[in-house]
Symmetry: C2
């Protein structure tokens, strides 16, 4: 398997939403209809026009096999440092268990360094201890609590 990475374009959107909806948490959160709800298109356009966002798709021989979103957050802290943040990582269900997740993270780490970030960060649900072990195997440290305040 030889994976290639590129920034997502509008014609990828349905397949990306299919991937986002295809897990236990995603099924409850997403709305996979045809045509796709307008809110996804609006969100896509905002992401695509934001230079600090890289909504990325991963292909294997022309087929979409995974997606993730990298954000580059400029702060004053760390002498004006940039934090890279990764979110919405999904591997297509038929492609799981083949090491694609690990390859994606190795790519994301390199990409974060190329963009001048001093850290790559993410939060992972405590209900998924196997995910935490996966991130630790990549060098991530669980030094922080990830706290969320969801609005009603």
């Amino acid at each position: 398997m030889s994976l290639t990475y590129r920034i997502a374009i509008l014609t990828d959107l349905v397949e990306i939403i299919e991937m986002l909806a295809d897990d236990q948490l995603g099924r409850a959160r997403e709305k996979l209809e045809s045509p796709l709800p307008e809110s996804y298109l609006q969100a896509f356009q905002l992401i695509a026009h934001d230079k600090q966002q890289e909504l990325t798709v991963v292909e294997d021989e022309g087929e979409l096999v995974a997606t993730f979103q990298l954000s580059f957050l400029q702060y004053l802290t760390y002498q004006g440092g940039i934090r890279a943040q990764i979110e919405a990582v999904r591997v297509k269900s038929t492609y799981r268990g083949q090491g694609i997740g690990r390859e994606i993270f190795q790519y994301a780490i390199q990409r974060a360094k190329t963009r001048g970030a001093h850290v790559l960060q993410l939060t992972t649900d405590k209900k998924r201890p196997e995910a935490k072990r996966f991130y630790e195997s990549l060098g991530f440290v669980d030094s922080h609590e990830g706290m969320k305040l969801h609005f009603g």
Copy 2:
């Protein structure tokens, strides 16, 4: 005390960096010199020109008493939802213990709702259990691990 909130301007920068440098973690990370290192100015300009960032200062009777940075992150997940994220929160040392932190977070929650976010999130160092309790008292849930991979 009647706090007012506004977006930071360039002439606030030295005072903001003084606040960022004035704690145990900040002292090691920041470089408080006169003139201020160029990296802070460059970072400030990038933040100021990014509509998804709100570097905010808090004043009491014309004096700067606190700062924080709110980021609004557009994702496809949650049907094209926006996540608000708060970072780099500092209250000037002489103003601590007066409930300013709580007021700031109440403001940040309202601001996040106004910008259409569905969640306000942050990560807090596990070495600061009192900070975690403070966030819990505001309604935050420690549902996630905050994982960081710092580059060499």
